[in-house]
């Protein structure tokens, strides 16, 4: 269920140009270890997609130790302040359009021409 506050956030950000799918990650702003936010499993899939989390069949919506490590690695790799939290800089970078090549798992899109 969408609360009035969430609607406000979406309305404000509809003027910017971020990806609609990733844009929903703005609601995880300031979340830290121990948080339980509905939909956080999608953020974990994002981190898995770009090489920060290993494949897990069922990601939970809990900000667990593994996600915290992923956030720290992401912040390190992207030259952000390393806080381990989903702060403004981190969320802003996450929702920015980007290259599809993984940041860490350089095996993924490495193939040899045959």
């Amino acid at each position: 269920r969408i609360t009035p506050d969430q609607v406000t956030v979406i309305t404000v950000d509809s003027t910017n140009t971020h990806n609609a799918t990733w844009h929903e990650f703005t609601r995880f702003l300031d979340a830290g270890k121990g948080s339980h936010v509905s939909g956080m499993s999608e953020l974990k899939k994002y981190f898995k997609r770009f090489g920060y989390l290993p494949f897990i069949a069922n990601f939970t919506d809990i900000f667990d130790t593994q996600l915290e490590s992923a956030v720290i690695l992401y912040q390190t790799k992207l030259g952000l302040p390393v806080t381990g939290k989903l702060d403004t800089d981190t969320i802003s970078t996450i929702i920015s359009p980007r290259c599809g090549v993984s940041d860490t798992d350089h095996h993924r899109i490495h193939a040899t021409k045959h």
Binding site: S96, P97, R98, C99, H106
Partner: protein, 192 residues
């Protein structure tokens, strides 16, 4: 700068010439092919100016070293595109040569003529993906071409010291390249 696992590079004897071609089927139609070719020629020439590698466009797509195309969603390489913004493009490491752009983006070669808020600079993305084709992975240096994200309506086409050092460690330096000119350029842009 970083490299792909195993530090792959185009292993050819100097002088290296890599050919590139555009897909005869998978292109966009709202930018003229001649304009697209101009943009890519400039992007390739930036990398060629710093390493002893030449790039030559050819017509024969299948036989080209680097094969460029615009694709929608799942296009068969296991890395489906996701529609407007999100993932913009991807390219494969040496010596694969596949270079894919998301056809769903609003690609632009001139922001004065394209007013869309979600327009993406084709030349900036082309320059970045060529870095992958040559063997560079992503960097943590925000100003560098090989930084993974790019905001809409933003141009980032000039190679930075991080990009140049990374690619020169793979291929060596172009004899005509002067590091001092790059440093001067970065200093002037930083202070200017």
């Amino acid at each position: 700068f970083t490299y792909f696992y195993g530090k792959p590079r185009w292993a050819r004897t100097s002088p290296v010439t890599l050919t590139y071609a555009f897909s005869p089927y998978d292109m966009i139609n709202y930018i003229g092919l001649s304009d697209i070719k101009v943009v890519f020629k400039r992007a390739f020439s930036r990398w060629a100016s710093v390493i002893p590698v030449n790039f030559a466009e050819i017509e024969e797509y299948e036989s080209a070293d680097i094969r460029i195309g615009f694709y929608h969603r799942d296009h068969g390489d296991g890395e489906p595109f996701d529609g407007v913004l999100g993932v913009l493009a991807h390219a494969f490491s040496p010596e694969n040569g596949r270079f894919h752009l998301d056809a769903a983006e609003t690609w632009a070669v001139d922001f004065d003529k394209v007013k869309s808020k979600v327009a993406v600079d084709l030349e900036s993305v082309a320059t970045h993906e060529i870095g992958h084709v040559l063997g560079l992975a992503h960097t943590s240096v925000k100003e560098a071409v090989m930084y993974p994200s790019l905001s809409p309506r933003t141009k980032k086409v000039d190679l930075k010291i991080d990009d140049v050092e990374g690619v020169q460690a793979l291929y060596g330096s172009n004899p005509n390249f002067r590091f001092s000119s790059l440093i001067e350029s970065e200093n002037s842009s930083n202070h200017g």
